[in-house]
Amino acid sequence: MKKPRRSMLFIPGSNAAMLSTAFVYRPDSIMFDLEDAVSLRAKDSARMLVYHALQLPMYREMETVVRINPLDTPFGHKDLEAAVRGGAEIIRLPKTDCAEDVLRLEREVEGIEKECGRKAGSTRLMAAIESASGVVNALSIATSTPRMDSIALAGFDYVVDMQTQRGDGMELFYARCAVLHAARAAKIDAFDVVFSDVNDDEGFLKEVNLIKRLGFNGKSLINPRQIELLHQAYMPSEEEVAKAKRIVEAALEAERAGHGVVSLNGKMVDAPVVLSARRILDLARSSRASAY
């Protein structure tokens, strides 16, 4: 059963207190940030903090992501060294505009894995798409290497590049759809933008319901209090679970009886409906198994 990846919590890499305690919030993934959340003069110390935090036993039990600085900055390669050597499962590359950006990252990751004795190919990659170019090239980015794990849309830089600003979500509509289609075509996961107003639960849940309906796996988060709201919103309802159970039981019964066609209450049930029902049950089971 695949673990849910609904919540990806940003933790500033320079904040020792948050690095020491963030595991208690039990997000599906925790993302140590070395980029925007860290000032220029704290880049070196944040890198060291994250390298050591990655090796804490409590972070070994959850999915860890490190957002590095872009590789064309003086910090990018050093961040990558710390993240790969520290044992991060996933490297999040910001400002990914084209497949070549990912391939360059992959070459550097390969070199570090060899040097430090980490299993070749064990570091997965996530591309953050933050520009019009990135959105247009989303499919080639998503399919650039087997190491690609997921793509994430990042809203702030994207709306600036598009010469607009954050509003009711319409400004992100094309980007969300394009990134999500690229991810699904590549059979990888997709994460939506952060919702920055942590006091607006209603607005947050409205956005969560939209991205859930679109098909995103989850969302990047900047505040731990958004985790429970998000997980609850992604939890299938009792009615959905009950209906999914009936469909899956009917499919199993048809399989046992050697019938090629699944029927429920006298109506034929198509294969995609059975697949969708199985996913709902998986999500319900794994949601109960996780923190919320």
Binding site: A16, A17, L19, S20, T21, D44, S45, M48, L49, Y51, H52, A53, Q55, L56, K78, E81, R85, C116
Partner: protein, 88 residues
């Protein structure tokens, strides 16, 4: 210098000295003073630090935070850009 005086963190100040001297104060000195000194000493030994005054004000940091702050302070004080990962 490296770190902060916030809870769960520590501040490391480094000054030139001909010998190695480490001065530690901590809000949890009574409970963890021995352990803090052990982590600091081991970190400095692994980085082959032989001189300098290290003044450490601890606010209840985890071992990994102590290691990270001391290592960064050493690198800053020695103006070292390239890190030898094998000593961490």
């Amino acid at each position: 210098m490296c770190g902060t005086l916030e809870s769960n963190d520590l501040l490391v100040k480094v000054e030139p000295r001909n010998e190695l001297e480490v001065v530690i104060s901590s809000v949890v000195m009574r409970q963890f003073g021995v352990r803090i000194r052990q982590v600091v000493d081991e970190t400095l030994q692994r980085m082959e630090v032989t001189h300098g005054l290290f003044v450490i004000e601890d606010k209840g940091a985890l071992d990994c935070t102590i290691q990270a702050r001391v290592q960064t302070a050493v690198m800053r004080a020695s103006e070292c850009e390239e890190l030898d990962w094998s000593v961490l």
